[in-house]
Point group: C2
Chain length 291, copies 2
């Protein structure tokens, strides 16, 4: 047993998709759950999750699904959080800890505050920084979180022991856990994830119009494939993220637009020095952090 040992008699995952399914697989791999219960809207999808051995059984009703669970993980799209919080609350055990995997945290905390009331202390807001452009339980795999970051954003009301428990859960799932303020999380993710997705979707949309007349995609190289991979992500999920983290995203988009405008002017004015300075700083930064 390590310092951060974790076990659960019954762990309920609401939303058994890429993230929820991969967490279930990772916890199975660690053999730390007696039972994993799934819940969701699509019964065929949950049956598939049972067949794949991702969950032991499922319930269609959220309150029933969380009944007797000592850990509840909300792995549904951001827009569904408030509904799921509301539906499950009557079924919660006294000793439960609830966490979520939402990509924006301000909105989820606000909703949890409104719905959970005195049970807010049982809620540990979280966000695993992992994923692929794929979605659905078929795309889930136990190694998704290995070595990847998970950010927890406990608020004042959060029970410290319960926060520690969720930290331990993610650590046995293979992740490295960091704590951060809600607002800081939303700014960081707007910059490194939400804005890049918006730009990738927007660029491919623009080029789709151009392609109608000029047949451009036939000549796209590997760099283009990499650059636009995130534009193959789930449109509804990303609409939700952009909407729910709107303020932080529009702020960093503003910074991006200002800098791009300057770069555009430099290209237009044939100011090669200014252009190469921007490119060099970008290359050095990227090589340092992602090299």
């Amino acid at each position: 047993m390590t310092a951060h040992s974790f076990s659960s008699k019954r762990l309920t995952i609401i939303g058994v998709g890429l993230i929820g399914g991969s967490l279930a697989r990772a916890l199975r791999r660690a053999e730390v759950c007696d039972e994993i219960v799934g819940c969701g809207r699509d019964e065929r999808h949950l049956q598939k999750a049972v067949e794949l051995g991702v969950i032991d059984r499922y319930e269609m009703d959220a309150a029933t699904a969380v009944s007797g669970a000592d850990v509840v993980v909300l792995a549904v799209p951001l827009r569904a959080m408030v509904t799921v919080l509301t539906q499950m609350t009557p079924g919660l055990s006294a000793d439960v800890v609830i966490t979520d995997v939402g990509s924006a945290k301000g909105c989820v905390v606000e909703e949890a505050r409104a719905v959970l009331g005195s049970r807010l202390c049982d809620f540990v807001p979280g966000h695993p920084i992992a994923g692929t452009e794929k979605s659905g339980v078929e795309a889930s795999f136990a190694e998704l979180f290995d070595g990847r970051g998970v950010i927890l954003t406990p608020i004042e009301a959060t029970d410290a022991v319960k926060c520690q428990r969720i930290r331990a859960m993610w650590e046995v799932a293979g992740a490295k856990v960091t704590e951060m303020a809600v607002l800081h999380h939303d700014e960081v993710l707007a910059a490194t994830s939400h804005l890049p997705h918006l730009l990738a979707f927007s660029l491919v949309n623009t080029l789709a119009s151009l392609d109608e007349s000029k047949d451009i995609f036939a000549f796209a190289a590997g760099g283009f494939r990499d650059f636009t991979r995130i534009a193959s992500s789930d449109p509804v999920m990303w609409r939700d993220i952009c909407m729910e983290n709107r303020d932080a995203m529009l702020e960093v988009l503003q910074l991006f637009n200002n800098d791009l405008k300057q770069l555009e002017e430099a290209v237009r004015d044939n100011d090669g020095e200014a252009v190469v300075n921007v490119f060099t700083r970008a290359k050095e930064t990227r090589d340092r952090f992602c090299g």
Copy 2:
């Protein structure tokens, strides 16, 4: 012997980097050149290319390097093309065919027209749509062009037999060859390559400023790595490309800016339907062409 057989008694590559070096390796693999001669500005670099078995020998002087060659490939940065064209011209054989690998074609054709004069018929403008974010002969490999596209943009003056010879060269190197008008090429590449690079460099530059205060890169996920990979490309090479293909790039940047502005407004106005429509069209387009 296939219909597009190719052989060369002496093939000279000016600029033995990722592209020039990979072409040499691919042609060696096919065993179609009696001798491959390298030329460049950095002697240690050329010595390295000999040690690696990429070229047989090298010359520092361009006119000497092309002497007796029946094929000359210009694989230098765009900004160096006019100098190299000028320096090598006195050494050209009567039966030579010259091609280049520049990422923009309008500028190279203009320079070739000015420098080559009556020898313009011997020049076949070309562009292999392949590469990585790496550069230098150490990064070169024989498989770089396998199954990848090469665009040739012959002009009115181009000798059809010589054009056919360059097509055959790329085909034995593993590539699929397409012909296209110069202007069309520059538009297509501005859209699928030059603008994406500009955006990636610009985004990482913006985030570098933000990182100074907020430590954002520590939490960047795989999607960010893919999206910004092209921002690790060579800054000088990409400054040249942006400058040399300025008109086409600024034009597609304008389209991008207009569409992004609309998307930004939709996010600001909480118009989820407009947002999801853009994201869905982008995903469908990308899945269709790069899936």
